[in-house]
Structure formats: structure tokens, C-alpha cells
Symmetry: C2
């Protein structure tokens, strides 16, 4: 696959003395080694790497502020790097510059179990967080497929399988510590559950993909581990039947904690990868949270709706280890999909539409993809109206790449026409920039650009991402 056309010839010159200053300040926590730069100039997108000029391994907010001040002074691009799991080219050093690795900011800063909040450094991953609070009876629900960092999850407005019940990073970030483009350190909010005191700086940085500031600490909401919890699989005769069931469940107001769709190919891949024996038809994975009787009630309503749409019997995962195995398998659907075509590279789509349009959007997309020259799978957080197509491409075939781009473009246009969005949870990065105009219109995009100019006047923070810059 080719880098996008705009990737050519955009490297900015690094002023003399700049790399030397970094080296003096950070010693062996600053690297210009090819392997290190290669590792930091890529993500899980299908783009080939674009290398930064150097990588700083930060260990504190003060490190980040120092780097930001110097990048500001020398006009050097600065790209925050968390777990490297973004999917749309967010981390590629399109203009060169410094990749700022935040994985060393990996401490739990303050747990307030009595307020259901925790403050962590940006490099803490979601699994690490849940591990560290396990004994409190609380948990953090947001779970993108990868074991992403909390900073990266905030930066892309991530969600995952629990969002239908617990919301996304937009609803669950309470406050951020952020380093501004010129190296100042701010807190975006306090720990009150609600506030009307001024502009919503928190929500400005959530989803800003490193283009407005660098997140170094994240305060999120936690939830009580449910008293009762059950999970089940239900197979369906068709994609339509499964999606229609989800629509009815949501419209009934059932507070389902998770409802995930997998098409027959995704199930097949998951069976092979995760050593499961799921029936290979379109299916829904459910999880119910609540009191024992509440969970029972939810399950009954959902079973009735599923039956009405031709759903087969519920296959219950009763034991915690069975549930865990099931959800791990679901989280690995991306890697499982890759195994359907050994040696392939995946391109992933990510639209989200109002629930009333979901069946139409998924069906039309499947019909379009059935003519593709490469295999694909469909999985989705369908309770939110969000689904992904994993297109499995020959990495050496320019023709397949172009075909996948055309399919993605048609899918995005379809979603936007249905009052939906070009990205439900993966973010814009480089790959979705071309759709921003169609989705938002020129005037709204101009406002976004004016915000970017106000917060990052020299276009230093993750330049070339998110919004087309005049």
C-alpha cells in the first residue's frame, strides 16, 4: 500500500542544536536509532511507516512540558505516542519531528473509590488499570480491542463493547492534565460530577488526537462491579435477523451491558484463532449486568426478541472463565480475522449510524462487499449503531488497496447520508480526513480549524492529522 500523496516532501527541517539539546536533557531516554524511529513511525493502520527524527521516552508531565516548550521554540512537530494501537495513521510522522513516547507515564496517581474516580498517568493501559483496582469492587468499562493506553483512548474518544451501557471516553473522562502547545500544564476540570463553570476543556481535548495538547493524566469514572453478570451467545439465520433483534432490544430500553455482532466469517476466524467451537452463522454476544433478578429479567426480554427474529437458543457462558474466554475471543477478532488470509494486512472501516438505519446500512454494505476481490469480516458494537468491516488485503497489491479504499468511501458516504459518522470510535488520523468536509460542512470545519489555530498556532502538535490545514 502506498502512503497518501500528501506524505511526500512534507518533512520539516530540524534546526541545528535541537536534537543536541534533547540528547543533553534526556540522555538515553532520547533515541534517533532507526529501529526505535521505525517502531514509533507506524500504528495498526495499513500505511507504511513514516519515521520521526527522534523519540523521547518521557517519564513525567515535566518531561512532556520541557519537550513541548522546545518544540514550540524550534517549531518542531511533536507526536504523542501511547500504546501504538491506533488504526488510522494517527502516529505517522508525516512532517518528521519528535515522537513522544508516554508509556513510561504508567502510574496510578490517585484512586478515590468512594467517589468512583481514578486518576492515572496517560501511559497506563486499560488492563493495567482494571488490574490495579480489582480489589475495590469497581471497574473501568471502556475496552477498545487493543490494550490501549488511557491517554490514547482519551485522545481518540475510544469506546468498545460496553459503550451501549456505560458510554464512551466522552462521557467517562472527568478531567485531564494537559500540556499545551507552548509547554504550559493545565487541569481541564475538577472532580465534581458536574459543572457549569466555563468552556468544556475536557471535551475539547477528548478526541483531539494529539493535535491540541498532550494528555499526561486522565481522571475517569469507575463503576461498581455488577452484583450479577451473565453472558450468552445467540446464532441467527441471517445478518438482518441479528441486527433487527438489536434494534428491538435497544428500542425496548433493555439496559444490556454488551451486545456485539459477528458475521459468519468473523465467527469462523475466531473459532480458528481462539480455539472455540461457535456455530458459524451470524451471531450476537450478550452480557447482562445488574442484580440477580434484574439480569434474569433482561435476559428474558432479550431471548423473546431474539426468538421473534429467528434466533436460536441462547448458549450461556456461566462460569467467569468461560465469559472471559468469550470476550477475549471477541477482542481478538481483529487478529483472528488476519489469519483468514495469512500474510495479509487489514484495512478496517468504522462507521456509526442511528440505530433505526443500522440494518439498512449493514445490509447494503455487505451486498457491496460481496463483490470485492478480497475476503472480509464484519463485527460491530451494534447497540450503538457502530460496526467495522475488516478488509483483508494482499500487502503487495495496489489494486486491492485501491478497491478497499473505494469500498470504504462508499460505506462512509452511505453512513453520512443516513445521518451517521465516518468514524464511531477509531478517530480521524490521516485516513478519515478526506471525509471531514462531507460530514461537517465547510463552516463547521472552519470553526474546528480556528480552534486548532488558537490552541496550536505554529501547527506543531501532530500536524497533518484530523483536519485539513489551509
Amino acid at each position: 500500500m502506498n502512503a497518501p500523496a500528501q506524505a511526500q516532501g512534507l518533512r520539516r527541517d530540524i534546526p541545528a542544536g535541537f536534537l543536541q539539546a534533547l540528547s543533553e536533557r534526556f540522555g538515553d531516554r532520547f533515541s534517533t536509532a532507526e529501529a526505535v524511529r521505525e517502531h514509533h513511525g507506524r500504528d495498526e493502520s495499513p500505511y507504511p511507516p513514516m519515521l520521526p527524527d527522534g523519540v523521547v521516552f518521557a517519564q513525567s508531565t515535566e518531561d512532556v512540558a520541557w519537550v513541548a516548550r522546545h518544540c514550540h521554540e524550534y517549531r518542531v512537530p511533536l507526536i504523542p505516542y501511547g500504546a501504538g494501537s491506533s488504526l488510522e495513521g494517527h502516529l505517522l510522522a508525516l512532517h518528521g519531528g519528535i515522537s513522544l513516547d508516554l508509556s513510561g507515564l504508567n502510574h496510578i496517581v490517585a484512586l478515590h473509590a468512594e467517589d468512583f474516580t481514578v486518576t492515572v498517568q496517560a501511559g497506563v493501559t486499560r488492563k493495567q488499570l482494571n488490574e490495579s483496582i480489582r480489589d475495590t469492587g469497581l471497574f473501568f468499562p471502556i475496552d477498545p480491542g487493543a490494550d490501549a493506553s488511557l491517554g490514547g483512548m482519551a485522545a481518540t474518544r475510544a469506546s468498545g463493547t460496553n459503550a451501549v451501557r456505560y458510554g464512551t471516553m466522552r462521557e467517562n473522562v472527568m478531567s485531564l492534565k494537559v500540556v499545551t502547545a507552548d509547554g504550559r500544564i493545565i487541569e481541564t476540570a475538577n472532580r465534581a460530577r458536574k459543572s457549569s463553570a466555563g468552556y468544556d476543556l475536557t471535551r475539547i481535548f477528548v478526541g483531539s488526537e494529539g493535535t491540541l495538547g498532550i494528555i499526561t493524566e486522565v481522571t475517569v469514572r469507575l463503576y461498581p462491579q455488577p452484583e450479577a453478570l451473565s453472558a450468552a451467545i445467540c446464532n441467527f439465520p441471517s445478518l438482518d435477523a441479528a441486527v433487527q433483534s438489536v434494534i428491538e432490544i435497544i428500542q425496548m430500553g433493555v439496559p444490556v451491558a454488551r451486545v456485539e455482532f459477528m458475521d459468519a466469517w468473523a465467527v469462523k476466524a475466531t473459532n480458528a484463532y481462539s480455539k472455540l467451537e461457535l456455530k458459524e452463522t451470524p451471531l450476537l454476544l450478550f452480557e447482562f449486568h445488574g442484580t440477580p433478578s434484574g439480569v434474569r429479567e433482561q435476559a428474558e426480554v432479550v431471548q423473546e426478541i431474539a426468538r421473534g427474529n429467528g434466533g436460536m437458543d441462547f448458549d450461556w457462558a456461566e462460569r467467569p472463565e468461560d465469559r472471559s474466554r468469550l470476550w477475549t475471543a471477541r477482542h481478538n477478532a481483529y487478529f483472528a480475522g488476519l489469519q483468514l488470509r495469512p500474510g495479509c494486512r487489514a484495512s478496517t472501516t468504522d462507521v456509526c449510524v442511528p440505530i433505526s438505519r443500522l440494518a439498512d446500512c449493514v445490509s447494503a454494505t455487505a451486498a457491496d462487499l460481496d463483490n470485492a476481490s478480497f475476503p472480509y469480516t464484519v463485527v460491530g458494537h451494534v447497540g450503538d449503531g457502530n460496526f467495522h468491516v475488516l478488509m483483508l488485503l494482499d500487502p503487495d497489491s495496489q489494486q486491492e488497496w485501491e478497491e478497499s479504499e473505494r469500498l470504504n468511501k462508499r460505506l462512509v458516504q452511505r453512513a453520512i447520508e443516513m445521518e451517521g459518522t465516518c468514524t464511531g470510535e477509531h478517530g480521524v488520523g490521516m485516513h478519515k480526513m478526506e471525509f471531514m468536509l462531507a460530514e461537517h460542512g465547510q463552516d463547521a470545519l472552519d470553526l474546528m480549524t480556528s480552534l486548532k489555530r488558537a490552541f496550536d498556532p505554529h501547527d506543531i502538535l501532530n500536524p497533518g492529522k484530523m483536519i485539513p490545514r489551509a
Copy 2:
């Protein structure tokens, strides 16, 4: 009470020809009559009115855009006006200019019951909205005391009694139609439940108090009317016992729909105003939503917690009309309070702290207020950590006004020291501006200022509110 010192001498000159142009465009929908200007130059705050130079009664987004373009061209201040129910001086024409009355934008634009969303014009009030969707089985939960307009509620990031379960306007606005400072019309988002496509323009305008753009349409989430619903009152021997019960209920994760605190004076006032016979001690008002068995479970847990803190027996409001009467009485607590001291004018506080600090904050505040020379009541959306003191002041006493301001200042400082906020739901307006620095710090405030400059370069939109302007 005096206008704040900064109110003197700030009126801007209105260029010749401007008022004439408005008159030609709007005919009798433009008024410079003293009574009309007087009505639009005030709100429910204790400030004396500051009159705009004229009032335009808009009937469409295009009207709003026309006025904005002309105010932009002539550099004339523009203040959006909804229901006039703000509490912190939001609507006062500190610099003169035009008040833009949006109450004529009162249509339901599009109901999508199957997606749980509705789009309304900004002047639609919360009661009008719920009336219009009654037959759908859905409702809109957010309920500030007044029958505010949806546009105003979005602009102040309002909440109310249901926020503990359903969130605030921050969580429930899906999209806005906004007229920018220079008169362009944008949509901030689509109707997908989640999106990672760009900066969160919706959340930028929610809570911006008319200082960044003028909201003309609001798309909000709706919720299924609960299958079962019950409400109860519980009296407590002390303020501490009541607040401690709330803390334990929230920490147990009970999904209570409403939990409201009233002190003995607020109960006394409500009895007199709403012809009720509530026992005049500190009390909590509860409402539970869910399935019949879910509601029963919630009520059992809550009763047990209340008993453990000395709470008396639950007094249930079984019939819908009893519940409605109770909540109407709660919503009228502000007006009821005013009757405790006939002829008084109220100053209302509005802090919000993490739930773990709520008992400390309320107790210390009550102790401080017990020395005041005027009566007061305390009510609170305590499940959020948010409470209000209604201070009942002699309108002719400068001494009482100054004393109330000192008490408010100490309360805000106390809340901020407890990691809370100077306003949980009423907004900043003019009255909370002096606390913005203490709450956010200079660097965060600078970012807010740069956002204001980017979106409203000529400082035309509701100038002199929200953030101190250099």
C-alpha cells in the same frame, strides 16, 4: 443591591443606521420600547436590570443569522434570550446592544422515537417538549426548576433532579444548530450515538452561555418512560444523617432516578407555598425508575441505608398525581423560599463537590450561614454532590447583599478546596466570573480566552460574561 462595579460606563455606541436596518427588516418584531427592553435586560439574579438598546423577536434560524451578520458588521453586542430564567446575570446587557428573543423558535423539528432522539427549536421549553412526546412512551429527563427553554438549558449546561441517573445537558445533547458570531449556520454533529470525527463542537457550545455562538436548534436524547416508578419521602434527624445516607446510596451503586435534599426551612416554606403537610425536618425525596421488581429492590436497599442513619419511615407517594404534586412542590422550592421573607429578593448559590466531601461541605456551610443576619434554605441534587443555598435578602439592604456575597465567596472557596466547582448547573454569567481564576488557574483560563477570541474575534456575543476579557 448594586450592579457590579464593572457595569458602569461600558455601554458601546450603536452606529447610526443599525437600529434603522433592524426596524426595516423586522418591523414590529423589533422593539426599542422601554418596557420590552426592561423585560429583556434582567433575569432571576439579584442584579438590577441593564437594558439592551433593542429587542429582536426571532422566528427562524435565518432571522438569527441575519441579526448576527449585522451585529458582526456593526460590532454591536448580541445577547440570546430564551425563557429569562437564568440566575447569574447571564442576560443583562452589560455593554448594551441587541437582545435576541428566541421564544418564537418554538417548534418540534423532528422526532425520531425509534432512535430516542428529538430535534427542537431553541425556544421550546422542557415542559412543552415532554407534553409533545407524551404519546411516544418516551420522556426528556432534564428538569431545572424553571420551565426553561432547551436552548437556554444547553447554553448553561443545565441539569436538575434527574441528573444523578440520566446525566446533564452535557451528556444528553447530541447535536446543535448554531449561528456563529459572523452569521454562518452550522450543525455541530449528526445523529449517531457516538463519533470520533473531529473536535467536539457540540460540547464546546453546551455551557458556553451565548458567548461562542447562538443555539437555534437542539437535538437531545430521550428515554423510555419507566415501566414502574415510585417516589417516597424520608425524614431525618439531622442534615448530616440525610447527606450521609445519600453518600452510601450512591456508593452502593443504586441507580436511583432522583434523590433530593431539603433542609427544615425549605420544607417549611414548601408546606406553606404548596399546601403540603410534610414533617419539617431535613428530608430526602426519592424517585425510583425501572421494572416493578427493580424498583422494589432499589427501594429496599435505600430504606435499609436510611434506617441505618436514623431515617424515619418512608412516606410513599403512590398515585401519579401525588408524585406530580410532590415534584412540582420541589421545583417550586425557589419561589416557596421567597415567601419565607415577604418582599425579599433571593441570592442562590450553586456549588458541586465530589460525593465523599458533600457532608463536610454542607455542614460547614450551614454552620457558616447560621450566623447570617438573614434567613436561608438549603436544597440540593445531592446525588451529584450539588446543592444550593437560597439566601433571602432585604432588597434595600446593601449590608445584607455584601454579607451574602461574602458567604457565597467562602462557600465557593470551600467547594474548590474540596476539588469541586463554583457552579454545578446555573452557570457563570456575571456572578461567578470572579471565581473562574481560582477554579481553573490562569493557564486554563487563557485557553478559554483563546477559544473565545477564535470563535468571536470582535467580542460581540454576550460580552462581559463567562470569562474575564483582557
